[in-house]
């Protein structure tokens, strides 16, 4: 009686929304991570303060609250976002705050001697950052970035709050329409796990490619 194939179609549509959110959220998170992470090690007090405020605020308040604000409160100050935009904004800013600390940690993990070599070769601050520090720090960040991306994937499950028909939301719909709990939830668990595996596999192969001939960069 139950038209499972149709409902699986619904779940797959949800998977597309989840993937879309994860990809776009990751891009935003990456941008924020570099901006705020480098802000944290800036020479300028104002930048450091701004970056710290951003990071502590977004790590401090729950993603639920941030999502709610992005969708329901921003319109009152004249910024009306589509659900997808609001979802990407909240997820990206939230995960970006965590990833910013990764960027800062990686930059600081590059030994003082590399900074000194830059000075001794008379490279400017930005030249040294761009050519020497960041390329090495990137390799240190990558594995944790992979974990952050998986966190983001899992966090997309909360966007059902703002009527985005992601994987979890579609599973809820199917559950309400069919009265079956086990099938939709098992299905989406597997889909989430496959997506997570894809992310960690992708990050790992990226890491291998970047690390080629670079033994000794990472301790």
């Amino acid at each position: 009686m139950t038209q499972w194939s149709g409902y699986f179609g619904l779940i797959l549509q949800g998977a597309l929304v989840t993937i879309e959110l994860t990809l776009m959220g990751s891009v935003l998170a990456l941008i924020m991570a570099f901006l705020a992470g480098m802000g944290r090690v800036s020479r300028f007090f104002a930048l450091r303060w701004l970056a710290t405020a951003y990071i502590e605020f977004f790590r401090g308040t729950s993603i639920f609250v941030q999502l709610f604000w992005a969708y329901f409160v921003l319109p009152f100050i004249g910024i009306s976002l589509t659900p997808l935009q609001a979802g990407v904004l909240a997820l990206g800013l939230n995960v970006g705050a965590y990833a910013a600390e990764v960027v800062r940690g990686a930059i600081q993990s590059i030994g003082r001697e590399q900074y000194e070599a830059c000075t001794a070769l008379n490279l400017g601050r930005w030249q040294g950052m761009r050519h020497i520090i960041l390329p090495q720090a990137l390799l240190v960040m990558l594995p944790t970035f992979g974990n952050n991306a998986i966190e983001l994937l899992k966090a997309t499950a909360v966007v059902s709050l703002i009527s985005l028909t992601d994987l979890t939301f579609q599973a809820q719909v199917v559950r309400a329409q069919t009265g079956n709990t086990l099938v939709p939830f098992t299905t989406i668990l597997i889909i989430y796990f496959i997506l997570a595996l894809l992310i960690s596999w992708g990050v790992r192969s990226l890491e291998r490619r970047m690390a080629r001939g670079l033994d000794g960069v990472r301790a």
Binding site: E116, A117, T119, A120, G213
Partner: protein, 263 residues
């Protein structure tokens, strides 16, 4: 040589780390082309002097002149102001440094390590930078490893690349901080040979910190013996190593010899 002006003129500088005073009113001068060895017990401030000259540390007081210009100060309308980043950048062109642990850039091949700074800081075109790099790598005997990554080199080879890298900016003054002490004993010799050659062939001014007394003896025109941030004794290598006048110098050399080092 005595006719020309000193290329480095250090005038009663002081430097503390926290409450610990490493240098206290130190003065010294170095003539153009001089090869100077700085020796002395651990913690006496030898490294600190080199790092100050390379602007890796700031001084708390005093003045330093390089090649007739203030290092940490700028003259504006007859007044001495603290140097800004632009002034330091200009002054650093005159100085190169080689570190104890090489500090090569691990993500760049040997060639890129050597060409990076000339291309970025002087705008040297790639072709010219690579030509010059090849000459320098030739000189330190590393031309055949130009495409290797640092991780594929032995310590001695890394240090020779580091020397070539510092030379690529053609500084007037080269600073060497214990460039052989992180190497396996068998690899020490190859680096020393490169440096002896360098000392003989160029008229660059060189400051060398080392614990290898034999090497200091061969390399230097003049030896400074440091203790607790002060120059206790200075003179020609033969004088210092054969006939040290100060008790502190004698004690130090005796211990070093007892520990198995040749003078």
């Amino acid at each position: 040589m005595s006719a020309s002006a000193p290329i480095i003129k250090i005038d009663s500088i002081s430097k503390s780390f926290g409450s610990f005073k490493v240098l206290d009113g130190l003065s010294m001068q170095v003539m153009p082309g001089e090869k100077l060895a700085l020796i002395g017990p651990s913690g006496s401030g030898k490294t600190t002097i080199l790092r100050i000259l390379m602007t890796l540390e700031r001084i708390d007081g005093g003045h330093i002149q390089i090649d007739g210009e203030q290092l940490y100060h700028m003259e504006r309308n007859g007044q001495l102001l603290p140097a800004d980043e632009r002034h330091l950048t200009r002054m650093r062109q005159k100085i190169g440094m080689v570190f104890q642990l090489f500090n090569l850039f691990p993500h760049k091949c040997v060639m890129d390590n050597v060409t990076l700074a000339p291309m970025l800081t002087k705008g040297t075109p790639r072709a010219a930078a690579e030509k010059r790099a090849m000459e320098l790598l030739e000189m330190v005997g590393m031309a055949d490893k130009a495409k290797n990554m640092p991780a594929q080199l032995s310590g001695g080879q890394k240090q020779r690349v580091a020397i070539a890298r510092a030379l690529a900016l053609s500084p007037k003054i080269m600073l060497f901080d214990e460039v052989t002490s992180a190497l396996d004993p068998e690899l020490v010799e190859e680096v020393m040979n490169v440096m002896r050659k360098l000392a003989a062939e160029t008229d660059m001014t060189m400051l060398l910190v080392t614990h290898e007394m034999g090497f200091a003896h061969d390399f230097a025109d003049r030896v400074l013996f440091f203790d607790r941030g002060r120059i206790v004794e200075e003179g020609k290598p033969d004088e210092i190593f054969r006939n040290p006048k100060q008790e502190r110098t004698q004690g130090f050399l005796k211990k070093i010899i007892a520990a198995g080092h040749r003078v």
